[in-house]
Subunit: 537 residues, 2 copies
């Protein structure tokens, strides 16, 4: 090798070989200053969580959040601020809950009404019966035994011995393990149908309990430690529940179960004061734009779901993500800059019931699929089946969306981003992340992640991405629970996330070349051809 | 060295050089069979916890526990079953608690009345004021500002990031670290007086709040995660509190504090339904005997405190320990054996307020010290000062107590025992533990442990010991909290503890030689001669 060639090689490799990104580091500095020195993201999170509170889709709290977030977008100078409605169902809210054991001794219990179950007619008092049921075939054992009873439907377990710390951040090794290509697969029909039946079971249990004349039903929280969740289904008027349901802490539930086994069955007094709201059965996505210079260049988008469950205030799930999206809008609008592409900000509704807000957006603006006709599948919600329906027909707006960035893994700072198996996106994201290495954001994970609002975009071949966030205590104790309060949000983490979100949007909106897209899916990904169904679950 | 002598040495060292203990392994087998195959310890724990519930000293629940435990001792054939009374103060119990934020939005809060504070006169509604106070000099800032307010007295912190697992067992290395001689020391007078002032602060705060016309006061739970504690003081009629106090979960407290800082101060509605019980101000230790063959041989004793706090059911603190002591009694009485020395079983009252039950026993039966005359010290409780009072005058029963074994570190299995710096006890305990190595009990820790009912015995030179137990989730989440329920008790652990307790009692009661005792203390242990007081805490 000649020395001159070697020197030339040295020069050419001193920058990464994929060095095509023009990351404007002066703009990074301006964004970081706006987010770190002049930020409002923790105040926004606190307003949504402390002041408005838990925001179940179509509840009065969610309506308040829809109005407040639009007013903020407008005040910050965003354009085309709007609420895009889609049919959802009834709202539901809790006015109060009081549950006491009244025999064999008096004790306040920790409880939450189960979402979308009806209120009790005032305080009702009845004996409990432990009648574990998790499939239809369990009904036979209890037929004729439940009249006038408060039915405890969970099989008590032995409690947990958690081995991991409640609070954690990703170590380098954890991040490396996330960087794995995910082979696309589809669950086979038998497995999907069993999942469908599980989702339909809540309605069948309710119908059975109503037919048997049960007074109310009680389930145990799925985790120890005094946590409460309260998730439920049945928000559509044609899928309404008839029997009041409450969730007790695992500890309170098992105390009742032990007493019922060894002593006389305890008596409970339940006063579940909940309300339905059906004046408007539409849910609303809140959308706001920062218009681009080039009307033909399309748009990039950031999103997070504004709705939550209501065991607490929906702070880490997902006021935090919503506040980061709003903060990115505030920062970019406040800098008075005009991107090439429009930057759109979306706050989704109905995420907790099946990502319905982002699905409505995709269906309206981006691509259609043959509609579901099976009534059971429709009743169970479209999450599982919509993505199995082919062909996909792009709508006129399909080509306009250049990239979508989602935030919905709690309130931890951003440690990187999932590239969703998009090999062409990996080197671009690496360069966009580079200015934030000192803030701990370094990882571009090749593979996919799910369970939030980018998945319907991905399912139609559009570039929807979700960031990697430090776990903190989100998986262990705040996700959907009565501990999902602002206490478990770190202001420093959210400021970091907001500046990275704003910077990604800016880079995506101003990139000279188009952003890489995946081929249009034309059929479901492969199933396991050797699978035998396991019916014994 | 002659070969014959060497062989003799080999023989003599093939057993441990301290091989003086005759551990009857057939008796071990019988005890283990009675505890493992025919055990009742988890049922006893559950009755005390689930059926009777939290047992604050002199509460109706504690009275029920006093009666039930005596009936069990009698039913199992124990002798001289009795309740030994000592002057304590008023009982107190919770009938119900309901706390809601009523403005700026409606939300149920998680709360517990603070022990021995008075009830609210029905539901009271008032605005909150965040007025952190932790010493008398903090009062000046708030004088004139508290009338008609609900006063939030805790300075809100930033929340926790717990790094350790909630649930743990001791690894070998943890046990090795416990095996350390503890140099005896005494805290200097200045430090002791600061501790005294901290204990007296609760009464001073109450007097200040009453004088200022506060409606109620609120403090934050000292740990995150929805835990509640509710400990309080002021159980003596001459030390009564005047202002209702409640504790909120840290999360609920901080939400109020954030809203008060950034929005209008929230309004709370508090309905604290508590009751005092002063028909009998005496507390009672429950004592039962398994009489020995030799009336001159004295006695050995096992003990645990039966009283608890009432945020939950007092299961791990200390129904579990009480049930183990009771189970040891049941096992030994049920085997129909007669030990050389009497075996005495004690269930103490008033432990949570200052180890008062075991102190009363020591003072009545074992040794006296010059009584405290300082009125402030008397008001603060005798825990800190009794052990500083000299000379110790042994009573006639002093020489009769050969050994005392306590259990009060949650519900984890026994991993060993603290030898309390008694070098002569170490080899004896090692041999007594040997049959239980396969159950995980192997460690004789040289040093001391505190905070429970063996310390007053130790303070007068008598052999009081406490076992080492696996932590489980006792230090992290059940100790004094609303999670102290039977769910967090492991039946297998308690069975193991019961058979080891029974075996230790049997060995101690039948040992040919006297058990080793320490020299009678004649003056306080040394203080740090170079200490300067730190007044800025």
């Amino acid at each position: 090798m000649k020395l001159r060639l070697f020197a030339a090689l040295l020069l050419s490799t001193s920058a990464p070989v994929f060095a095509a990104e023009n990351v404007d580091r002066d703009m990074v500095n301006r964004i970081v200053d706006a987010g770190m020195n002049h930020g409002q993201v923790i105040e926004t999170t606190a307003y949504l969580s402390d002041r408005i509170g838990g925001r179940m889709t179509n509840s009065p709290q969610m309506r308040a959040a829809e109005a407040w977030t639009q007013s903020k977008f407008k005040a910050w100078g965003l354009s085309n601020v709007r609420a895009e409605g889609f049919e959802f169902g009834r709202g539901w809210s809790i006015d109060g809950i009081a549950v006491r054991m009244t025999a064999p001794r008096v004790l306040n219990l920790r409880a939450i009404p189960i979402a979308w179950t009806p209120p009790t007619p005032g305080a009702v008092t009845a004996g409990v019966i432990v009648a574990p049921m998790k499939r239809e075939r369990d009904f036979a054992k209890w037929r004729g035994k439940l009249r006038g009873k408060i039915v405890m439907v969970t099989l008590p377990n032995d409690g947990s011995e958690p081995a991991k710390s409640v609070f954690s951040r990703y170590a380098d090794d954890d991040l490396r393990k996330l960087d794995t290509y995910d082979q696309p697969t589809t669950v086979d029909d038998a497995t999907a149908d069993r999942g469908l039946q599980r989702r339909l079971f809540a309605a069948k249990l309710d119908a059975f309990l109503a037919a048997e004349g049960a007074t109310a039903w009680v389930r145990a929280a799925r985790t120890d430690g005094g946590l409460l969740f309260g998730e439920g289904s049945g928000f559509r008027a044609d899928d309404a529940r008839r029997v009041p349901g409450i969730e007790l802490t695992a500890e309170d539930y098992r105390r009742l179960a032990r007493l019922a086994k060894t002593d006389a069955a305890p008596t409970l007094e339940i006063d579940s004061r909940v309300r339905f709201h059906d004046a408007d059965t539409k849910a609303y996505n809140i959308i706001a734009d920062l218009p681009g210079r080039d009307p033909k260049a399309g748009y990039v988008m950031a999103g997070a779901h504004l709705d939550s469950w209501v065991a607490a205030d929906g702070a880490t799930d997902n006021a935090a993500g919503s506040a980061v999206v709003m903060e990115a809008a505030r920062i970019l609008a406040g800098l008075g800059v005009k991107p090439k592409r429009t930057i759109r900000f979306a706050l989704w509704a109905g995420e907790e019931q099946g990502l319905f807000g982002s699905l409505a957006y995709v269906d309206r603006h981006l691509a259609s699929r043959p509609p579901e006709t099976d009534p059971e599948r429709l009743k169970a919600g479209s999450y599982a089946y919509w993505t199995r329906s082919f062909p996909i027909t792009p709508r006129s707006g399909y080509g306009e969306l250049a990239a979508y960035f989602n935030l919905d893994n709690g309130s931890g700072k951003i440690r990187g981003i999932y590239a969703e198996n998009n090999a062409a996106a990996v080197p671009i994201f690496k360069e966009w992340l580079a200015p934030f290495a000192g803030m701990g954001a370094t990882t571009v994970a090749t593979g996919r992640t799910g369970s939030t609002d980018h998945v319907y975009l991905q399912s139609v071949g559009l570039p929807g991405y979700q960031f990697i966030q430090d776990p903190l205590d989100y998986p262990s104790r705040t996700h959907h629970t009565n501990l999902d309060t602002v206490d478990h949000v770190k202001a420093a983490d959210l400021r970091q996330a907001a500046v990275i979100m704003a910077s990604f949007l800016w880079n995506a909106a101003n990139r000279d070349a188009a952003l890489p897209k995946m081929p249009l899916p034309t059929k479901p990904s492969p199933t396991n051809p050797f699978a035998y169904p396991d019916d014994d679950e």
